[in-house]
Symmetry: C2
Subunit: 174 residues, 2 copies
């Protein structure tokens, strides 16, 4: 019941209704690739977010922070965490506020630099992550990985890596 582009243009080979009046700037083939990519990515995000929210009382953002802290051995400088997530410091700050209020992380000043803080995974935070991680991985397999053939999977990985790299490199530019 939300953020997806298109439920109508089901067949690729008939003239798509979209953009007709403005001159159909993308041809049918281009439009098909674009809309399916957009739809799939939004539906996947939606499904993942709903699972984490309904079954584990956390947002996808919360989960990403917990995963990274765990992966870093339990603690990480805020600046490093923001960089890993490719988030603004502001966004990280708000997310950590919520996580700290729930007792899932703590902020700990670092001795070497009076300006710096570590985000530290707490026991309850680790427990929540441990509960969520298995079902989360299973869901990713179910909705994204298993529907792909081995060949499709590697093609997708390579293509998405290329596209993500190009966009990440050009950030803030232009």
């Amino acid at each position: 019941v939300n953020g997806v582009t298109d439920g109508s243009t089901d067949v690729p080979d008939d003239d798509p209704p979209a953009l007709r009046g403005t001159g159909a700037h993308l041809d049918a083939d281009e439009l098909f690739t674009w809309t399916r990519f957009l739809d799939a990515s939004r539906l996947v995000e939606e499904r993942i977010a709903r699972h984490l929210s309904d079954d584990h009382a956390m947002t996808h953002s919360d989960f990403e922070v917990l995963v990274r802290l765990d992966g870093a051995g339990g603690a990480l400088r805020l600046s490093a965490l923001a960089e890993q997530c490719v988030w603004s410091r502001s966004r990280l700050s708000h997310t950590l506020d919520r996580l700290e209020a729930r007792g899932w992380i703590e902020r700990r000043p670092v001795p070497e630099d009076q300006r710096g803080f570590d985000a530290v995974l707490t026991e309850p935070g680790w427990a929540s992550l441990a509960e969520a991680a298995g079902p989360h991985a299973e869901l990713i397999r179910e909705i994204l990985l298993l529907p792909l053939t081995a060949s499709e999977r590697s093609t997708l990985g390579a293509a998405m890596d290329r596209i993500a790299r190009a966009l990440r490199d050009r950030r803030g530019v232009e």
Copy 2:
């Protein structure tokens, strides 16, 4: 400066740091596919949204509504519009409020059903769409379509179509 998962795990064949402590529920290959897909989709959305916002003073949601109205000949029942966008009626209502406040659409009662309204594209709304649509299409080519080989493009289209369909069919279920 926002919503993307990963900037660190650049090489697929070394042990990825994520999920280490919780047992690495996805193997390196699965994790690579998943994170690249997630990163690419978020970066693409971000880039598209920024272009529409910076250069055309509209959100991606605004753009989608304008495109659909234009594609429907200029007017569409709210219920049909919500269905096409795969949005809740509530979300559509809020978006139309903003568009109507800017004079880009109007709500017009339909004579056949006293409950129903058409969203109608106004002249200024059409003009804004006409200005944005070309550059928008060009951007999609640049960041998504052109980086793909012909074979990758068709693989991606088919795979995303399959994944989107499966998720859409199971909505609300379970």
